[in-house]
């Protein structure tokens, strides 16, 4: 068990910068998710922690010890790969044995045939085998032990890959999009299993994904990365409620947060789509801003009370919720509202719909996409 710290880590391939000054402090036993669109540097960060790639500058600490020059195998970490990376010529049992054999047996004891003559080998092998047995029981893969990876389904391979990581009882698990090759229902199921496994093992998990739903459902904390920058680090609720950057706001949450252009006059009053919005800003005057509001904070209202209107272009029915997509006269921007199914029964496609917003839930971003402190909430 160990905490992991990244200090001003950067990575560049030639002149192409991939990571800009990433600082990250991962507590012992924490489930931290690195999330971001592809190419944001999240996998590179994970591979730097693993030691598979070397950072250009900065330091990596594991359990307080600097590990910049330490080999991957000496860092006491285990990794689960997106493609599982099981050895296809070995059975599941042999796959699980491999990391333990490489760690516990000496080079002489690993020599085929001759190795069996070494005095310590038998004792070590029986210890290793019982270790493998234990992990196979936890993951319920005992019936698969004699098969080869090619004979397993995606979900079974996933478990074996997890097992190969678990047998060594590592200080931390590194997972590089481990669920992205599974079908949708199995993915949801494995999310729950992974969370459970994390609770049982009490080990540090560092999980890389591009799926914001996985990040929100499993993590203790989320680190949102974009273009090589670590934009925000915090618990899922906080990242969802209080994104500090417009890119975070748009990336986290599905459907996406509605972002509307607005202006702020000399008195600091914001108007959006011709409507004044009651949000008090500190020291912000005379600039164009963006307003963000999540679909669930928009409400259908009678035309007399409503602030906005839009033409209904699409009803996205998910059973429990119905998302209404509205054309509000902006060319590149639709507004999405979440409604209860019975609420939106009467609305037909092509009709004009009136809606308002929960005034407390407006988020304001400046021209550079940074969050602007709103007076009412007092904090960001």
């Amino acid at each position: 068990m160990a905490g992991i710290t990244l200090q001003s880590v950067t990575k560049a391939y030639g002149s192409q910068s991939v990571l800009n000054d990433v600082n990250l402090d991962i507590a012992d036993g924490e489930f931290l998710t690195l999330v971001g669109p592809s190419g944001c540097g999240k996998s590179t960060t994970l591979r730097i922690i693993a030691g598979l790639e070397k950072q250009s500058t900065g330091d990596v600490f594991i359990d307080g010890n600097i590990v910049n020059e330490t080999r991957p195998s000496q860092r006491d970490l285990a990794m689960v790969f997106q493609s599982y990376a099981l050895y296809p010529h070995l059975t599941v049992h042999q796959n699980l044995l491999t990391p333990l054999k490489l760690r516990d047996l000496s080079a002489l004891e690993r020599v085929p045939l001759f190795g069996h003559l070494m005095p310590e080998r038998r004792k070590k092998m029986s210890a290793i085998s019982s270790e493998v047995q234990k992990v196979a029981e936890i993951l319920k893969i005992e019936p698969l032990l004699d098969r080869k990876p090619g004979q397993l389904s995606g979900g079974q391979r996933q478990r074996v890959a997890l097992g190969r990581a678990m047998v060594r009882n590592p200080a931390a698990f590194l997972m590089d999009e481990p669920l992205s090759n599974l079908d949708a229902s199995l993915r949801v199921h494995m999310r729950a299993e992974l969370s459970e496994l994390h609770r049982e093992l009490k080990a540090t998990f560092i999980y890389v994904t591009h799926d914001q739903a996985e990040a929100l459902t499993m993590s203790d904390r989320i680190a949102v990365m974009m273009d090589g920058d670590l934009l925000q680090l915090g618990p899922p609720d906080e990242v969802y409620e209080n994104p500090n950057d417009i890119r975070v706001a748009e990336f986290i949450g599905s459907p996406k947060m509605n972002i509307l252009p607005a202006t702020c006059d000399e008195k600091g009053v914001i108007s959006c789509l011709g409507q004044k919005i009651k949000v008090a800003l500190k020291n912000i005057k005379n600039q164009s801003v963006s307003i963000g509001i999540r679909p669930e904070h928009l409400i259908l209202q009678s035309p007399s009370k409503a602030s906005f209107t839009g033409k209904l272009t699409y009803k996205e029915n998910l059973g429990s919720d119905v998302f209404l997509h509205l054309d509000i006269g902006l060319t590149d921007q639709k507004v999405v509202i979440r409604t209860e199914p019975q609420e939106s029964n009467s609305s037909k496609i092509g009709e004009t719909v009136s809606f308002g917003a929960n005034q407390n839930k407006y988020l304001v971003f400046n021209e550079n996409g940074k969050r602007i402190d709103t007076a009412r909430e007092g904090k960001v």
Binding site: S73, M79, A85, P88, R164
Partner: protein, 316 residues
């Protein structure tokens, strides 16, 4: 539709061509191998399996089998190992690998007959560059000491190099002790570049994540990773490379024809050369056909072994 015979018309061209071009010649050879037919004769006698009896009882044919098998057993392992080794080295290069690939592949592309003539000059015992170089080592103390084993106290005259310095260096192609080895050396030189290219292709298909997994699992040395990932993942390539090399080695002909003509004292009398000599030079078509059929059987066995391995063992 049920009674329509039109489907036969669709497959007929392919079937007829296959029969005429591939199957018929083999059948003709098999028939001829039972006769004493010579080209130009108006008739022939059926002699049954007499040709085959000769083939498996006469001493000169025993030499033929032994020459072919020895050649294969020298060339295949060495050219496969060299091919794999050079492919591994080239694939680990950061730059310059295209150049090395081109250089090692040159002998494969070159006309072997032309190359054989160059080798004939190089290996000439009196004015050849090979023996010139070896002879020049005799006066250099350091090289003499190193090659004759004097550096670890052995008697230099007992060694191959030392005694050759005293006497003479071998007549590579004219001495039955050396001729087959020399032909095999040229075969290796010519063939391993092809194996290298096959292995390079095989190496690119090994997933990089497997190497990373091996790193994480504690395979710290390159040798461990080679054993754990590279070697097994190249399984299909091994089978293909070994089969192709074996068949190509069985087919060796041009170097023998150009350099030794099967001699000295039949030490390089390989099968395809024997076919040529019997069937074409001596116009004993029946005997030539019998050798051809045996040769085909060898190749067929090799191919069946390959099919077995491909199906059973090396695909995961």
């Amino acid at each position: 539709m049920q009674n329509s015979k039109v489907h036969y018309w669709f497959v007929a061209p392919a079937l007829i061509l296959m029969f005429i071009l591939l199957i018929l010649p083999v059948l003709v050879a098999a028939t001829l191998s039972m006769t004493d037919y010579s080209l130009g004769n108006s008739s022939f006698n059926w002699i049954g399996i007499e040709n085959y009896e000769k083939l498996f009882s006469r001493k000169s044919y025993a030499k033929m089998f032994s020459a072919s098998l020895t050649y294969v057993l020298i060339v295949v392992p060495i050219s496969v190992a060299l091919g794999l080794g050079s492919a591994l080295l080239i694939s680990s290069l950061k730059f310059g690998n295209e150049l090395y690939k081109a250089i090692f592949f040159l002998p494969v592309m070159a006309t072997l007959l032309a190359m054989a003539i160059v080798w004939e000059f190089a290996l000439n015992p009196i004015m050849g560059v090979v023996n010139d170089i070896l002879r020049s080592g005799c006066d250099k103390k350091f090289i003499y000491g190193l090659l004759s084993g004097a550096w670890y106290g052995a008697d230099p005259l007992q060694s191959w190099f030392g005694s050759s310095c005293e006497d003479r260096f071998p007549i590579w192609l004219g001495d039955k002790k050396y001729a087959l080895g020399t032909i095999a050396f040229i075969g290796i030189w010519q063939g391993f570049g092809f194996n290298m290219v096959l292995y390079l292709a095989g190496l690119t298909s090994v997933p990089r994540e497997l190497y990373q997994a091996a790193h994480m699992d504690g395979a710290d040395s390159a040798w461990e990773r080679f054993k754990l990932v590279t070697w097994p993942m190249l399984g299909p390539t091994h089978v293909f490379v070994i089969t192709i090399s074996s068949i190509r080695s069985f087919q060796v002909f041009d170097t023998v024809e150009a350099l030794t003509e099967g001699g000295p004292s039949k030490s390089t009398y390989v099968m395809v050369y024997a076919m040529f000599e019997k069937g074409v030079r001596q116009n004993l078509l029946g005997m030539g056909s019998a050798i051809t059929i045996v040769f085909l059987a060898f190749v067929l066995i090799l191919t069946l072994i390959q099919v077995y391995f491909v199906n059973r063992r090396v695909h995961y």
